[in-house]
C-alpha cells in the first residue's frame, strides 16, 4: 500500500509501527541525547565565538542583569554581557561556556571508570563464582550503602583544592557498585542459557564467552546503568561544589550556585546568577532522565506499548 491513499490515522499508525522497528530510535532517547548534545555544543562553539577572558574576576561590571531586564540599581542589561554578570564581575556567558561542559565531564569520566570497574567485577563474580563471587558481592553490598557525598566531604575538606579529574576519580570510587550487582545478576542468569552452554561445549575461551557471547546482550542494561551512574556522579559533584568543596579555581555550575547563595543573591534578586546554572543543570538532568526512559523501552519492550 502506498502512503498516498492511506488515511491520516493509518499513516500515523504506520509511522508508529516503523518507529518500533528500531527501538533505539524512540523519541525519548533522541530528545534526551539532543539536550545533552546542546550543552556540549554550547561548550564547543562558545569557545570560538566568545571572549573567555571575561571569566576572570573583575573583568566586567558587577551584577549586570541579562538583556531586557533591569537590576535593583536600575542598570539595564547590555549586549557585551547578554546573560548578565555575577557579583564578582565575571561574565555569566563565559562562565557557562566553561562550566557546563566541566560538569558533564566529571559525570562522564567518573561513570566511565566506575562502569569499567563494574563490568570487570560483575563478570568476574558472575562467571567465576565461589570465593571471588562472595568477596565481590559483599564488597558491593557494603559500598552501596555508603553515601558518596559524605566520604568525599571528609576527603575534600582534608585535602583542600582538587582538580576536576581528581574529583571525577574520587566519585568513580562510588559508582561501580550498582553496575557490578546488575551485571553479576545478568551474567548468572545468562550462564544457564543455551547459547552460552553451547559456546562452552565447543571449547570457546572464557574471555570469548564473556565479551563475544554475553556482552552484546548486556548492551541495553550497560547503557542504562551508565546513564544512572552519570546522574549519580553529577549529583554528587554538584553537591560537593554547592558545599564549597569542588575545584576552587575552575568555574563549575555548582560552584557558581555556591557563590550566589553565599553572596545573598536570592534576597538581592540577582536571579540570573543562580538561576542560569540551575536551569542548565536541570537541562542536563532532564536529558539524562529521558535517555534513561528511552533505554528502558529498548530493554523492556512491554513498556513501549504504553507510551
Amino acid at each position: 500500500m502506498s502512503t498516498a491513499n492511506m488515511t491520516r490515522a493509518e499513516r500515523r499508525q504506520a509511522r508508529r509501527i516503523r518507529r518500533f522497528d528500531n527501538p533505539w530510535l524512540n523519541p525519548k532517547l533522541i530528545w534526551g541525547a539532543g539536550l545533552l548534545l546542546s550543552i556540549i555544543f554550547i561548550g564547543i562553539v562558545g569557545r570560538f565565538l566568545w571572549n573567555l577572558d571575561l571569566v576572570f574576576t573583575g573583568s566586567s561590571p558587577l551584577k549586570l542583569p541579562p538583556l531586557g531586564f533591569e537590576n535593583l540599581r536600575g542598570q539595564p542589561g547590555v549586549m557585551a554581557h547578554p546573560i548578565g554578570t555575577d557579583g564578582g564581575g565575571r561574565d555569566m556567558l563565559a562562565m557557562i561556556i566553561i562550566g557546563a561542559p566541566n560538569t558533564l565531564f566529571v559525570g562522564l569520566l567518573a561513570s566511565l571508570i566506575g562502569m569499567s570497574i563494574g563490568i570487570f567485577l560483575g563478570f568476574s563474580a558472575g562467571f567465576l563464582g565461589g570465593r571471588i563471587d562472595d568477596t565481590i558481592r559483599v564488597g558491593a553490598d557494603v559500598m552501596i550503602t555508603i553515601p558518596p557525598l559524605l566520604i568525599l566531604v571528609v576527603f575534600q575538606s582534608a585535602f583542600g583544592d582538587v582538580t576536576l579529574t581528581m574529583m571525577a576519580l574520587l566519585i568513580a570510587g562510588f559508582v561501580w557498585q550498582s553496575p557490578t550487582r546488575l551485571i553479576r545478576a545478568q551474567v548468572l542468569s545468562m550462564k544457564q542459557s543455551g547459547y552460552v552452554q553451547m559456546a562452552q561445549l565447543s571449547g570457546a575461551s572464557t574471555t570469548h564467552i564473556m565479551f563475544r557471547e554475553m556482552m552484546p546482550n548486556l548492551v541495553p542494561y550497560l547503557f542504562g546503568s551508565f546513564i544512572a551512574s552519570v546522574t549519580t556522579s553529577i549529583v554528587t559533584a554538584v553537591g560537593l561544589e554547592v558545599l564549597g568543596l569542588g575545584p576552587q579555581r575552575i568555574p563549575t555550575l555548582g560552584r557558581t550556585i555556591y557563590e550566589a547563595i553565599n553572596a545573598g543573591a536570592l534576597i538581592q534578586n540577582l536571579w540570573w546568577w543562580w538561576g542560569i546554572p540551575t536551569l542548565l543543570l536541570g537541562v542536563i538532568f532532564i536529558g539524562l532522565l529521558l535517555i534513561n526512559l528511552g533505554l528502558d523501552e529498548v530493554s523492556n519492550p512491554r513498556l513501549r506499548r504504553l507510551s
Binding site: 550503602t145 555508603i146 557525598l149 559524605l150 571528609v154 532532564i286 529521558l290 504504553l306
Partner: protein, 337 residues
C-alpha cells in the same frame, strides 16, 4: 522473630557491621593522609584571634597531646573506633569545648523530622500517582499531566529548593527564607513554636517532595504494568468486583512491595540530598552543622556528622531487609540473597 533463618540474619548483620566499620575507617584514614596538621590549624586560629602567640612550639606539642595525635597510629585508630561505638568523637575545635556528640544530638531531631515527613509524603503521593498512570480507569488528565510533571523529578532537591525559595520566600514572601523556627519564639512545646517550625519546614520538605515522588511513580508504573496482566486481576474483574477495590486491594497491594526494597537502596541518596537542602535553607539540621564545620575546618564534627549519617543509612537498609518478609509473605529469606 522466629521466622528469620539464622544464616540470613548473620549475613545481614555482617554486612551492616562491615559497612559501618569500613566507612568509619575510611573517614579516619583520609584526614591522616592529608598534609594539613589539625594542631597547626588550631594554633592558626589562636594566632588570628590574639594577634600573635608566644611559645608556639610548646603550644603545638600540647595541642597534639590534647588531640591525641602524638600517639602511635594503631592506638589512635582503636581509640577512635571504640569512641565511635558510643558516639564519642571528641570535642569540636570550632565550638571548643562542646563535645561533637552534643552538637549532633541537637541537630539530629531536625534532620530526622524533616526526612521522615518528606519521605512519607513522597512515598504516598509517588506510589499513588504511579499506580493511577497505569490504571485504565484513571482520568485522561492524570495520564498526560503526570508524565509531563515527572520530567522535573530527575532534578536534585537542591535545585528545586533554590527555585521554591526564590518564588515563595524571596518573591512572594509566604514562607521564611532561612532557619528552622522564628527567632522571636521561645523553643518549647507551645502552639506558637510548633506553628513556626511547620511554617519554616514547609519549603525544605516541599523541595524534597517535588523532586522525589517521580522516582516512586516511575517504579510503581513499571510494577503495575507487570501486575496488570496477572490472572488474579482478570479473575477479580470477572467476579465483577468494583474497579476501585481491584485497584487498591489487588493491584497496588501486590505491586507496591518491591518499592519498599527500592526505598532501602535510595535512602543514602535521599539523606545526602537533604543535607544539601538543609544547607541552602540554613535549616538547623545536620546539613547546616556539616556546612559550618567545613567552613571552620572542624574535623571532629565533619567526621561525626558523616559517621552518624552513614550509620543511619546502613541501619535503615538493615531494617528494611529484615522486615521485608513480614510485609511480603511470598518472599522467603535466602541465606545468599
Amino acid at each position: 522473630m522466629g521466622r528469620i533463618p539464622r544464616d540470613y540474619l548473620v549475613n545481614r548483620l555482617v554486612t551492616l557491621v562491615l559497612t559501618v566499620l569500613i566507612a568509619a575507617t575510611i573517614i579516619w584514614i583520609i584526614p591522616r593522609l592529608s598534609p594539613v596538621d589539625p594542631a597547626e590549624i588550631a594554633l592558626g586560629r589562636m594566632a588570628a584571634g590574639a594577634g600573635s602567640v608566644a611559645n608556639s612550639e610548646e603550644i603545638l606539642a600540647q595541642l597534639r597531646a590534647n588531640m591525641g595525635i602524638d600517639q602511635p597510629l594503631i592506638v589512635q585508630y582503636l581509640k577512635y573506633i571504640s569512641g565511635a561505638l558510643v558516639f564519642d568523637f571528641g570535642l569540636s575545635t570550632a565550638a571548643f569545648p562542646t563535645p561533637v556528640s552534643t552538637l549532633i544530638l541537637n541537630a539530629l531531631p531536625w534532620t530526622m523530622g524533616l526526612m521522615i515527613l518528606s519521605l512519607l509524603i513522597t512515598f504516598f503521593i509517588g506510589n499513588l500517582l504511579g499506580a493511577l498512570m497505569v490504571w485504565d480507569r484513571s482520568p485522561k488528565l492524570v495520564k498526560v499531566a503526570i508524565p509531563a510533571a515527572m520530567v522535573f523529578t530527575s532534578i536534585p532537591p537542591i535545585l528545586s529548593g533554590l527555585l521554591l525559595m526564590w518564588i515563595f520566600a524571596a518573591k512572594l514572601q509566604w514562607f521564611p527564607l532561612t532557619g528552622a523556627y522564628s527567632i522571636f519564639v521561645e523553643p518549647g512545646w507551645t502552639w506558637e513554636f510548633v506553628k513556626s517550625v511547620l511554617h519554616h519546614g514547609f519549603l525544605p520538605a516541599l523541595s524534597i517532595v517535588v523532586v522525589t515522588f517521580g522516582f516512586w511513580a516511575l517504579g510503581m508504573r513499571g510494577l503495575m504494568i507487570g501486575v496488570q496482566g496477572e490472572d488474579y486481576v482478570k479473575l477479580a474483574e470477572a467476579k465483577g468486583l468494583r474497579p476501585r477495590y481491584i485497584l487498591y486491594r489487588y493491584m497496588i497491594r501486590n505491586a507496591i512491595l518491591p518499592q519498599i526494597t527500592a526505598f532501602a537502596l535510595k535512602i543514602g541518596l535521599l539523606i545526602a540530598g537533604q543535607v544539601l537542602v538543609e544547607r541552602i535553607f540554613a535549616y538547623n539540621g545536620m546539613g547546616k552543622l556539616l556546612y559550618d564545620a567545613i567552613l571552620n575546618q572542624d574535623f571532629p564534627v565533619i567526621q561525626g556528622v558523616s559517621y552518624v549519617i552513614i550509620l543511619i543509612t546502613a541501619l535503615s537498609v538493615f531494617l528494611v531487609d529484615l522486615l521485608y518478609p513480614f510485609i511480603d509473605p511470598r518472599i522467603r529469606h535466602e541465606a545468599n540473597a
